[in-house]
Symmetry: C2
């Protein structure tokens, strides 16, 4: 077993790898802002160049959006194959004034690197590249075939990777897909995420009079779209937070006892929740613990309300229209299309008199469930334990990673959601960060995973 | 009776008066925008100078805001006294791009003058000044003492006129107060407004987590301020639009049969309402006609909703807070303070768990009711009939004119709400206008009113 040499290489190149990560993080590859298109392309080249230097066959694929990078080592049929997924693009940086230092001038302080993309997802992508580098630079034969698919449209909702995966399933064939875009359970406990929530994102539009009306001149004579919208939204959930859309819970896969026990053992408390969120109390569906609700119960949340006057002081109008954005996070085996339709039908059925109500289906994502018992899951757990020096736990995640569903459907391989970040790493927020310890441990984990995967079945 | 000479003068000076009005309208006296403070002061001087030229004793009073103009003719104790109220300041002009021609370059087309302030309130104020001029320039003794109180803060919510009225009740003593800041019933029917609604303007603030949360990471675990706000707002009214705040209707003065009959005779239909507003249907409290609801029933309307994300597409957050502005238009004998307190108590009592709910009382105004049977009302009706050549009707108004309540309280004189505008004159909107026929008829009415008032009791 070559572990020691590999891990020795990673240990002795820590500073060099951080320096290289700093260069990667300096590139403002904000995919949703077209004035950064050049930067986004530069970040793609950065990744492609590193993979080329490590001897991989690299394709930079242009499907109309930002470049997609596909790369693979020499493929030997007698070896298992791992496909590593990640993205080199980053979120916008607003509000800029809340950053302690500029988002694209990485700063290291107390073993933490601060920069946009540090955790989501450049830092995590880089762990896999550095793991591969350890083998290549040491001249040690790779225990597995390695493939990379690194995209540049994750934060912009781009379609390239979906198209590519659907058309290249054979090329991308693998024994496991490694997705490092989630988080550890907490600072001391690594975890493998085995379920992601899906999503149905809806918008309700209520239209009343042709223009804002003087609330004195016309008050009491016409339906007020703001009041009508509130009526509709209020009927989406009961007072315990249980969704009232008919059939909403029909397809929900209930937690098994082992999962509930596992969650309970993690010791997540409402105190922790309130500290993390600043909320005064936990709230939600009866009969479930907070962690069960967070990880395994579908939700229905207002994301935005907008109607009439929102400025200072008073403006006395009956607004011409009102809008609510409402997202439902779905769990296995709910289907976004079915839920979106049930939601639409329900909202139209409760539409108050005197206004026009429309429902827009923005987008959806399938929930993900990965079997906890598989050879590859075993390999992942073992790698994590060795890489982080602590026993990993099974976790779930309330967020959605839509591409995972597509990977499962097209590639039919198990997905290992192996996240090295922390939920407090401020992804999508000012002062995004990544603990260098987790960066280094992540690289070790990825390197060990290649060996562990080779050993299985 | 000097009517013929007076009216002859007004008729033969029509064009000259319009030319003068044009000069008045050219002054951009937007009281709420401090970069127009010089203009606002210029509009005050314009009014003060005209009144001085007509021989009145004029005071330009500075109480910290825009100047208040108080003026009076020689006061002879054997004559009745009329106090004319109006304002020389105007609303802002946004959105400027919706004006067909610039708001401060008055344009006359098909007998209509278009400009900011044409109807609200410069054009109406000017009718009284021109009526007075007719007497003075003809050397005809005034049948009444005339006082003017013309303010420059009506559109900016200024306090000057309230302070002045409270401190100068004796000086302002009069037999009737003429307020021309409302509208005719319609294009062919003049009216005297005998009731204005009051106002209680409230804001509900719901606060949840310390920051916007990722709706995946924390969905289902904490109360969502957007959902909570919708629950509260939905409970403000039942599905027929009847307000659910306890005690809301307790003090409502019910319409008497004569009023209901009078309203019915006006022939206002839901078809007219839908045409005026663009609403698809009328809506509101059962047991009342649309006009009864508009003029004589208290209302409860959302003026604004704001929470989380209101932009294009999707943002998956649990908003940190949510806000609703809600105004209640009050009718005699509801009291704004009492209603504001009932509203606050009720909202706090229905506040959902897990969020902090606060209620802000922005401001209130008392409803106004003027007895329909009085000498001065008779004088007003007679003047209107002669001035407009059509039988006037009694109307009410859903809007509020807060100063009227203060006049009633401090001066204890009947208020004649003698409006010469039309509800379609786009006050507060682009392309504000005033029909020149109504301008001229208004001046005649004001002139005749002086004689009619002198004749009474």
């Amino acid at each position: 077993m070559a572990s020691e040499k590999i891990l020795g290489y990673l240990d002795s190149h820590r500073d060099e790898h951080v320096d290289q990560l700093v260069e990667f993080l300096k590139i403002p590859s904000i995919s949703s802002q077209s004035d950064h298109d050049q930067d986004t392309r530069r970040a793609a080249s950065f990744v492609a160049d590193e993979l080329k230097e490590l001897g991989l066959a690299v394709e930079v694929v242009d499907l109309g959006g930002h470049p997609l990078i596909y790369a693979e080592t020499e493929i030997r049929p007698d070896r298992k194959t791992l496909l590593f997924y990640g993205h080199y693009d980053v979120q916008p940086v607003d509000p800029l004034d809340l950053w302690d230092t500029p988002p694209f001038e990485p700063r290291i302080e107390n073993g933490i690197i601060y920069a946009r993309g540090a955790c989501d997802d450049k830092g995590q992508v880089y762990t896999h590249i550095k793991a591969l580098e350890a083998y290549v630079r040491q001249g040690i034969e790779l225990p597995v075939n390695v493939k990379f698919i690194i995209e540049g449209e994750e934060e912009a909702g781009g379609e390239s990777i979906y198209k590519y995966t659907e058309q290249n399933a054979e090329k991308m064939a693998c024994d496991a897909i490694i997705v490092s875009d989630t988080a550890l359970y907490n600072e001391t406990t690594p975890g493998i995420c085995y379920s992601l929530k899906g999503l149905a994102y809806m918008e309700i539009q209520v239209t009343g009079p042709a223009m804002d009306l003087h609330s004195g001149s016309y008050g009491g004579t016409v339906q007020n779209p703001g009041n009508a919208l509130a009526e509709i939204v209020a009927k989406l959930k009961d007072e315990d937070g249980r969704c009232l859309v008919p059939g909403f819970y029909d397809d929900v896969l209930e937690l098994d006892q082992e999962e509930r026990d596992g969650f309970a053992e993690l010791g997540y408390t409402d105190e922790i929740l309130c500290k993390e969120t600043g909320a005064s109390a936990a709230f939600g569906e009866k009969g479930f613990t907070t962690l069960e609700r967070m990880w395994a119960r579908p939700t229905c949340d207002v994301n935005g309300l907008l109607s009439g006057y929102g400025g200072e002081g008073a403006k006395t109008i009956i607004p011409a229209n009102a809008m609510a954005k409402v997202s439902m996070r779905l769990v296995p085996n709910q289907e976004p299309e079915k839920i979106a339709k049930a939601f639409t039908d329900y909202v139209l059925s409760i539409a108050p008199a005197g206004v026009k109500v429309e429902v827009i289906d923005h987008h959806g994502a399938n929930p993900v469930l990965v079997p906890r018992k598989s050879d590859m899951m075993k390999a992942g757990m073992s790698a994590l334990e060795q890489g982080f020096g602590a026993k990993p736990v099974f976790i779930r995640e309330g967020g959605s990673i839509p591409i995972v569903g597509t990977f499962q459907k097209c590639l039919k391989s198990p997905v290992l959601l192996l996240g090295y970040g922390l939920s407090t790493d401020n992804i999508h927020s000012p002062n995004e960060k990544f603990h260098l310890d987790n960066f280094w441990r992540g690289a070790r984990t990825s390197a060990i995973l290649m060996e562990e995967a080779a050993k299985q079945g």
